[in-house]
């Protein structure tokens, strides 16, 4: 229990996107200008909400069916997204709640503030969730989202992407990110992708096509692993000999 509740590795802020990225215009007035106050994690950040499988409905991990009328399905490229959630020590993290959301095959989100002219799919809602298994593994079925234009610069288009929200076992691990698809030329033109400082960190968000897990005559597979912050041992935290 002591080990489980250890302090978290400090977040590498040079690897993560900075707050202020002027090519992503909305960040200009939504970025703090003063330095963050750095602190080691306390119980307030080392603990966090934990969710049981009892919250999940039978179709929560199937976006092709979870909003569809009886006997119907969402339209688009059928895909399976699967992978593992690991900590920085490379261990799978069980019990991670993953929530995901996305546009439909035409790049249209089911949201009242969205005005893109591509139509809604009456059988596609765009949200799903699951909880990682004992090895940190997860999978869900969906349709591949379309690219989507947005009012940033005059002709900006988001690459096809799926948003992910992750809960580890501590609130300090809380993370929202986006998954991109192998080979999409829009990835390297996107000012939101470009908020990430290094090509290496961007590559970590690009899911490769996974033919081994593709179901013939049914759905292609993409593999997407994610990494949450690791913990160090606290066994000797208050002792002179240190860790």
């Amino acid at each position: 229990m002591t080990d489980q509740n250890g302090a978290f590795f400090h977040r590498d802020r040079s690897w993560q996107p900075p707050a202020y990225c002027p090519n992503y215009k909305t960040s200009v007035v939504r970025s703090p200008q003063k330095a963050l106050i750095s602190m080691n994690t306390t119980l307030s950040e080392q603990t966090g909400p934990v969710f049981g499988h009892n919250i999940l409905g039978a179709l929560d991990n199937d976006l092709i069916l979870n909003y569809a009328a009886e006997g119907e399905m969402a339209i688009g490229e059928r895909i399976i997204v699967h992978g593992r959630v690991l900590d920085q020590n490379g261990r799978g993290i069980p019990g991670v709640l993953l929530e995901f959301w996305q546009a439909n095959a035409g790049g249209r989100y089911r949201h009242k503030k969205e005005g893109y002219l591509a139509p809604l799919d009456p059988n596609f809602g765009g949200c799903g969730r699951t909880i990682t298994d004992e090895n940190g593994g997860y999978s869900f079925r969906t349709i591949k989202p379309g690219a989507y234009p947005w009012p940033n610069r005059a002709n900006d288009w988001r690459p096809a992407h799926i948003h992910f929200s992750l809960f580890g076992s501590g609130f300090a691990q809380r993370l929202i990110t986006q998954m991109y698809f192998e080979g999409d030329p829009l990835i390297w033109k996107c000012p939101i992708v470009e908020t990430i400082p290094s090509r290496e960190a961007i590559e970590q968000l690009i899911a490769p096509l996974d033919m081994e897990n593709t179901v013939p005559m049914d759905a292609r597979a993409y593999k997407f692993d994610m990494v949450l912050r690791g913990r160090r041992s606290t066994l000797f935290e208050n002792r002179k000999e240190g860790n």
């Binding site: 992503y24 200009v28 007035v29 939504r30 950040e45 929530e99 300090a172 986006q178 960190a201 994610m226």
Partner: protein
């Protein structure tokens, strides 16, 4: 020399303007997928402690309310125990400790019905003043912002975190205002003169 094999944390990306679809689908009229939005309710009739409401608005650097922010809170129960993974023992089973709210589409205001948390120890054993941990995401925020809310009617003078903030004139940005009986207002300013203290935890 041996190699360190630590993996890099996945890079954060903005939650975007449509975070509601994935996190609070019922709030954004996607009905029938989940029975209710996670984090919508933190207490029930049996929850121990003093009932309070916390409300606020997130403002950008021009003083404009964010109407597309999502705010999550995490707090201890009335006895200062966290509802999960707390090595000190079991918390009040009728309290979730975690809440999630989207700002109102028209005003940007959010509100949590919860209880006043008990005090929790700092790693060195000193007690921290009662506080609530906040995490804020929105379009234009590339990585979720952590901060804390403290109470105006508590003794915050010996809090180990508040004491170590060099610019003590910024400490009031972390202290809620008593609006009416049992209702605290905690506005968050992302940028500018009133900028809230954000934490690199």
């Amino acid at each position: 020399m041996q190699e360190l094999k630590h993996l890099k944390e996945s890079a954060s990306q903005t939650a975007g303007p449509y975070v509601h679809i994935g996190c609070v689908p019922n709030f954004c009229d996607i009905k029938g997928v989940y029975p209710h939005d996670l984090g919508d309710t933190m207490v029930n009739a049996e929850t121990r402690g003093e009932r309070i409401t916390i409300k606020g608005t997130v403002y950008d650097g021009t003083g404009t309310p964010l109407k597309d922010a999502m705010v999550e809170i995490w707090q201890a129960d009335a006895n200062g125990i966290y509802p999960s993974n707390d090595p000190r023992g079991a918390a009040d089973p009728n309290f979730t400790g975690w809440g999630r709210k989207a700002g109102d589409y028209d005003t940007g205001e959010w509100a949590f019905d919860t209880i006043r948390p008990g005090a929790v120890p700092f790693p060195d054993g000193r007690m921290m003043a009662p506080h609530i941990t906040f995490w804020i995401v929105a379009r234009g925020i590339n990585i979720g912002l952590h901060t804390r809310m403290y109470f105006p009617d508590a003794d915050n003078g010996a809090d180990p975190l508040l004491m170590r903030i060099e610019h003590q004139n910024r400490v009031p940005t972390l202290i809620a205002r008593l609006e009416t009986d049992g209702v605290y207002r905690f506005d968050i300013h992302l940028q500018g003169e009133k900028e809230t203290v954000f934490l690199d935890v």
